[in-house]
Amino acid sequence: DAMVIQNPRYQVTQFGKPVTLSCSQTLNHNVMYWYQQKSSQAPKLLFHYYDKDFNNEADTPDNFQSRRPNTSFCFLDIRSPGLGDAAMYLCATSRVGAGNSYEQYFGPGTRLTVT
């Protein structure tokens, strides 16, 4: 089945130690998004890639970076995680083009713990 895959599902890192979260998709969608979701809150968009074009949300801290080496993969890098960065990180994809699909397809998320 076509899907959005996130690895790892659970990640524990130390305060200040860089961490990378991974997302891959078999949907061949041209847009990939990263969201942060804290407990009992709605997902908050951090940034997205439209093909190779990176688009950062205005309020996303500089501590968060992203890479998209090819259509299928996208990475979230947290350069110096703080305790406040502990959250669920969600990757999503969507397809843009003729006959626009408005749906975003979410992965299962990576639960990040910062100790």
């Binding site: 959005v4 996130q6 997902p43 968009l45 843009v96 408005y102 975003q104 397809y105 979410f106 639960r111």
Partner: protein, 114 residues
């Protein structure tokens, strides 16, 4: 500023009852209104969605009612089942420069009790 207001934040319904979640929005530029269902430890999954030129959409036990003039929309879950227990997010979307910018409501935690 919360652009999509969702209520209630939590809801307890008896099995077989009707669950109703309400949302309101301000920005008339929104052009697509999806509902997402999220189980604990999982990512949100698209449940049902509606465009603003339609007043109602039904898929199985799930119905969206949409009132464009009032800028309100709601999700009705008929014959609610314990397996429907999850968090539901309403959302509103703008197609912006080739991608969908989604604004989520705060979420409603639904518990369906036997």
């Amino acid at each position: 500023q919360q652009q999509v207001k969702q209520s209630p934040q939590s809801l307890i319904v008896q099995k077989g009852g009707i669950s109703i979640i309400n949302c309101a929005y301000e920005n008339t530029a929104f052009d697509y209104f999806p509902w997402y269902q999220q189980f604990p430890g999982k990512g949100p999954a698209l449940l049902i969605a509606i465009r603003p030129d339609v007043s109602e959409k039904k898929e199985g036990r799930f119905t969206i009612s949409f009132n464009k003039s009032a800028k309100q929309f709601s999700l009705h879950i008929m014959d609610s089942q314990p397996g429907d227990s999850a968090t539901y997010f309403c959302a509103a979307t703008i197609n912006s420069g080739g991608y969908q910018k989604v604004t989520f409501g705060i979420g409603t935690k639904l518990q369906v009790i036997p």
